[in-house]
């Protein structure tokens, strides 16, 4: 999965996938942690539901974009043991490629004069 073309073929990423990759970019998190992180980063606009979250996690694991860490407790949360996930190099690379693609799209839109109005 390290080949550039293989990673390229995963683009464009579904928004939920991108959000999850971004949420894992600075720390290992468990499933619910990812949910909270995404909600926080988007100002509460995007709330992942468990179904979307875990089917996406399963897919990302299969593609080697994230890895599962051993179960441990969340110091902030209740006592339940949680599985943590970490972004792999491929995962980071895919997120970067998607970001580049999105940036290009934004630039494209701007050049066409499609600047969103504020407020």
């Amino acid at each position: 999965m390290s080949h550039h073309d293989d990673l390229e073929s995963l683009l464009p990423l579904p928004p939920a996938t991108f959000h999850i990759l971004v949420a894992l970019s600075d720390a290992d998190r468990h499933g619910y942690g990812i949910m909270q992180e995404v909600a926080q980063r988007t100002g509460g606009k995007t709330k992942l539901n468990p179904g979307t979250l875990y089917t996406t996690i399963q897919r990302l694991l299969e593609k080697g974009l994230i890895v599962e860490l051993n179960e441990r407790r969340d110091p902030d949360e209740d006592d339940e043991r949680r599985r943590y996930y970490r972004l792999t190099r491929s995962g980071r690379r895919v997120a970067q490629l998607e970001l580049a693609r999105l940036t290009e799209m934004v630039a494209l839109g701007r050049r066409a004069g499609l600047v969103p109005e504020k407020g």
């Binding site: 468990h30 499933g31 619910y32 949910m35 709330k47 539901n49 468990p50 179904g51 979307t52 979250l53 875990y54 089917t55 996690i57 399963q58 902030d76 949360e77 209740d78 339940e80 949680r82 599985r83």
Partner: protein, 875 residues
């Protein structure tokens, strides 16, 4: 962030857990716990921050999300399993297994689908009526006279009109006629029906109009409807045919409408006319000539209608004891009128047989799968060790089997399509509704169900067996031998297979014997090969035409007799194995005809003098009719009837009998019994009356030939044309083919059941050989030890065979048991052989055991090729 204060209610947790069941089991095993925890956290969060509205929104979001992601997840898994299954089935080591399994399943599912198509068409497919289950047949019965199915009389039919259980009651009478419209005269099958007939069925004419009550009034210009088929054949489907005048038996009729060809109970009727009035029959309560159909009134059940008719008929019995003594009515669904009990039962037997065949086929594939799963233990062990869940593996194997069954089923459907097309030609003409044979949606659904059940049957057991062992065991065993461990399951499957095959073979053996007996039955007349018959309907039916008709037939007989190759010729109102019959009660003079216990219900035939010589029916006593000067009161009895009328054995010659029509006849002769209607039924008591009494509109010409009967068809046609150029002649038939047609349906049924049994047996024997061969392979080492310790090769073979044979004997025993239990279903269609016939059971078991022994012996011989020294050194 700690929030132990808000607790998630237990029901919410339960509902969410239930929702999670939408995901594939393997996904659930992996993530359900985490998902529940995440859900609970979200729930608490929403409750805390947004209250109940937030919780409600969460539920909606979670529901939608679960639905979308679960469907996708299932789809992905299916796609993956299908890809995996495809690779696994088409991979190099498997292709021979796949080919064998596909062929087996294709044959099984193809056969089931073909037979089910026939069963569905005849027994289940809706009839072309409005509310077909409301349409009923009213059949006259007289238990005292032993009459189970008879037609009705016009006065009784009129009395029945007061019954409130029916919204419509209609009468039908057969009216085969000669149609002339300028071109060549045509003999057509016709029916005269009550004016409300089409409304009763809820069918509309294809064009034009149906009958109105005004059409059935005496003195009105006669009208007729013709069938769609005749309309297209004769008039090219021209709408202008409506309004045209055609001659029906020389009487002009105006065509008012085009009738649908298929009316459910018949599809060969080309001419429809109003019921009209028949002065000969319609005023006599004892003259049963009408078929009565009806439609149940809204809200009335069949039982209620039946009850009402029982009350009504018993009242009529008291009112008219002369004609109605002992007569009652059975109201039955029209399907029972269309499909005879025996036909329905034979079809059910056929379906059961083919279902058994599919079971044997599926068992065979299951067995192959187990053998293959043995070879795949290593693969399975590795996958388990790598963390694949068992549920995942079972699902994967089931998908593989579903793939296999679907491919087999698809091939089977192609076979069925060809089978159904071929059936249209093979199916006996006597099978009702054969014209409407088609693979339609219900048939496809049943085929799909077969495919799914087959997949489960072939997949579940092997999957369970493969997964019962734990990881280490699987890997160890796979390391030790690539064919897996001993398999009692395979033995059990083979025994089951043999049991199923035995049941089928016993059934087939019984049916075959029954058929052979049916074919050998004494007909009562000689050499049917050289008897040529053709029905001739005379157009002149008026009272004064009788003499002219008689002259015509006498002249025809003279003409035909003069033809080279003709030994004798006669005409008769009916011939054996024709499709119609006429019956009347008869008693020795002085008794009252029609009184149960006193009189006998007997067939009557109007015949010319030479009839008995032509048919070669032996004369037992007295004389046959004399040509030209026989008194009309003379009668000849079949010997069975004579015995029934005078059980004390008195000589019937010169005695008198009274018939249901109050006429008295004198017995001049007694002839041998003849099977009139069905090979499988006892000869019918029969009265023969001379043509000096009456002559019917339709008489059948019977010609005894010395040469090939086919060569005489044209000369006879020419003889008819010489006498009356306007007289149509319909198809000729030899008596041999009429007799054969009578047994056509049991014959086809037997041939099919026998082929299914043969196939099942073949599959079972292959299964036995496979398992025994496998067991020899497994026990090579043990056998080598036995040989090394001084056992002879014969002993080694016997040792291997004994295990296999015990398994086979068990299977055969179970099969015989099942055959005994199922015998009752077969009994009603068997002729001359008991469903529990010990000789058949013993013979079949012995033959099957011999086949099984052969199947054991062939692979067991391999034991003799074992080299003890080599095997033991290697081990």
């Amino acid at each position: 962030m700690r929030s132990a204060t808000t607790k998630v209610p237990a029901w919410a947790d339960r509902v969410y857990t239930a929702l999670l069941r939408a995901y594939p089991a393997s996904f659930r095993e992996e993530y359900a716990g985490e998902m529940r925890a995440a859900f609970r956290s979200r729930w608490r969060e929403e409750r805390r921050e947004r209250g109940l509205l937030g919780v409600a929104r969460l539920w909606i979001a979670v529901l939608a999300d679960t639905l979308a992601t679960a469907v996708r997840s299932q789809g992905e898994m299916l796609a993956r399993d299908v890809r995996y299954g495809w690779r696994s089935l088409t991979g190099r080591p498997s292709w021979s297994f796949t080919a064998a399994a596909l062929l087996t399943l294709a044959l099984g599912i193809g056969a089931v689908t073909t037979i089910y198509t026939v069963v569905h068409t005849v027994l289940l497919a809706p009839l072309p009526y409005r509310g077909p289950d409301r349409v009923v047949h009213l059949r006259d019965v007289n238990p005292g006279l032993g009459i189970e199915d008879f037609s009705s009389s016009m006065p009784n039919f009129r009395s029945w009109q007061e019954a409130r259980g029916f919204s419509h009651l209609t009468a039908l009478r057969i009216a085969d006629s000669n149609l002339t419209d300028g071109s060549e005269p045509l003999k057509v099958s016709g029916l005269k029906v009550s004016a409300n007939f089409w409304d009763m069925l809820g069918m509309r004419p294809v064009a034009g109009r149906a009958f109105l009550p005004a059409d059935d009034v005496q003195g009105r210009a006669p009208v007729a409807m013709i069938s769609e088929g005749l309309w297209r054949r004769r008039y090219g489907g021209d709408p202008a045919a409506i309004g045209r005048t055609v001659d029906v038996n020389l009487v002009p009729h105006v065509i008012i409408g085009i009738a649908p060809q298929d009316v459910g109970f018949a599809s060969n009727i080309d001419l429809w006319m109003p019921l009209g009035y028949d002065p000969e029959a319609d005023d006599s309560r004892g003259d049963h000539r009408l078929i009565v159909l009806g439609r149940l009134a809204p809200g009335v059940t069949l039982q209620q209608a039946q009850q009402e008719m029982v009350g009504l008929t018993s009242r009529l019995e008291q009112e008219f004891p002369e004609a109605n003594k002992g007569w009652s009515v059975v109201v039955e669904p029209i399907r029972d009128f269309i499909v005879a009990d025996a036909v329905a039962q034979r079809l059910r037997i056929l379906l059961a047989a083919v279902a058994l065949l599919l079971l044997v086929a599926a068992t065979n594939v299951a067995n192959l799968q187990i053998a293959r799963a043995g070879g795949r233990l290593r693969e399975i062990g590795v996958r388990l060790a790598l963390g694949a869940s068992r549920a995942r593996l079972v699902r994967q194997m089931l998908t593989e089997n579903l793939l296999l069954a679907t491919a087999g089923g698809a091939a089977g459907l192609v076979l069925a399509w060809a089978g159904v097309r071929a059936s249209a030609a093979w199916l006996p003409v006597s099978l009702p509704r054969r014209e409407t044979l088609a693979i339609d949606l219900p048939v496809l659904l049943v085929a799909a169900l077969c495919i799914v059940l087959t997949a489960l049957l072939t997949g579940l057991l092997p999957a369970r067996l493969a997964l019962r062992s734990n990881v280490q065991e699987a890997l160890q065993q796979a390391g030790r031998s690539t064919t897996g461990g001993r398999s009692p399951a395979r033995h059990a499957l083979v025994a089951a297979q043999l049991a199923l095959a035995t049941t089928l073979v016993v059934g087939a053996a019984l049916l075959t014997q029954s058929l052979v007996r049916l074919q050998k039955v004494a007909l009562g007349f000689a050499d049917p090969e050289h008897l040529l018959t053709t029905p001739i309907t005379r157009s002149l039916t008026a009272e004064d035409a009788a003499d002219r008709n008689l002259d015509f037939y006498h002249a025809l007989i003279e003409e035909v007799r003069a033809l080279p190759g003709v030994a004798a010729a006669a005409v008769s109102s009916e011939v054996p194995f024709g499709d119609q019959t006429t019956e009347m009660p008869v008693v020795p003079a002085g008794g009252s005809p029609g009184v149960p216990g006193e009189s006998v219900q007997a067939n009557w035939r109007i015949v010319t003098a030479d009839f008995f010589r032509t048919m070669q029916i032996p004369l037992r006593r007295g004389r046959t009719f004399e040509e030209g000067r026989e008194p009309w009161q003379s009668m000849i009895l079949s010997e069975g009837l004579a015995r029934q009328l005078w059980p004390d054995g008195r000589d019937p010659i010169g005695r008198e009998v009274t018939l249901g029509n109050r006429k008295t006849f004198t017995i001049v002769g007694v002839v041998g019994d003849v099977r009139q209607l069905e090979l499988g039924k006892d000869p019918t008591p029969t009265m023969y009356i001379s043509t000096s009494w009456i002559i019917l509109p339709t008489m059948t010409l019977v010609v005894r030939t010395r040469t090939d009967p086919a060569a005489l068809v044209q000369p006879i046609r020419q003889a008819v044309a010489r006498l009356d150029p306007h007289q149509p002649v319909s198809a000729f038939q030899t008596m041999r083919s009429a007799v054969a047609a009578n047994a056509a349906e049991p014959r086809l049924n037997t041939v099919l059941v026998a082929s299914f049994a043969g196939l099942a047996l073949l599959l079972a024997v292959v299964g036995v050989a496979g398992v025994v061969g496998y067991s020899v392979g497994q026990r090579t080492r043990e056998l080598a030890v036995r040989l090394a310790l001084g056992a002879s090769r014969g002993q080694a073979v016997r040792h291997v065979m004994s295990g296999g044979l015990a398994m086979c004997a068990m299977g055969i025993l179970c099969g015989v048991g099942a055959a005994l239990a199922l015998g009752r279903a077969l009994a009603s269609v068997l002729f001359g052989v008991d469903a529990h016939d010990p000789l058949t059971l013993l013979g079949t078991s012995a033959a099957l055991l011999a086949a099984a022994a052969l199947a054991c012996w062939l692979p067991a011989r391999r034991a003799t090729r074992i080299s003890p020294s080599l095997t033991l050194r290697e081990g």
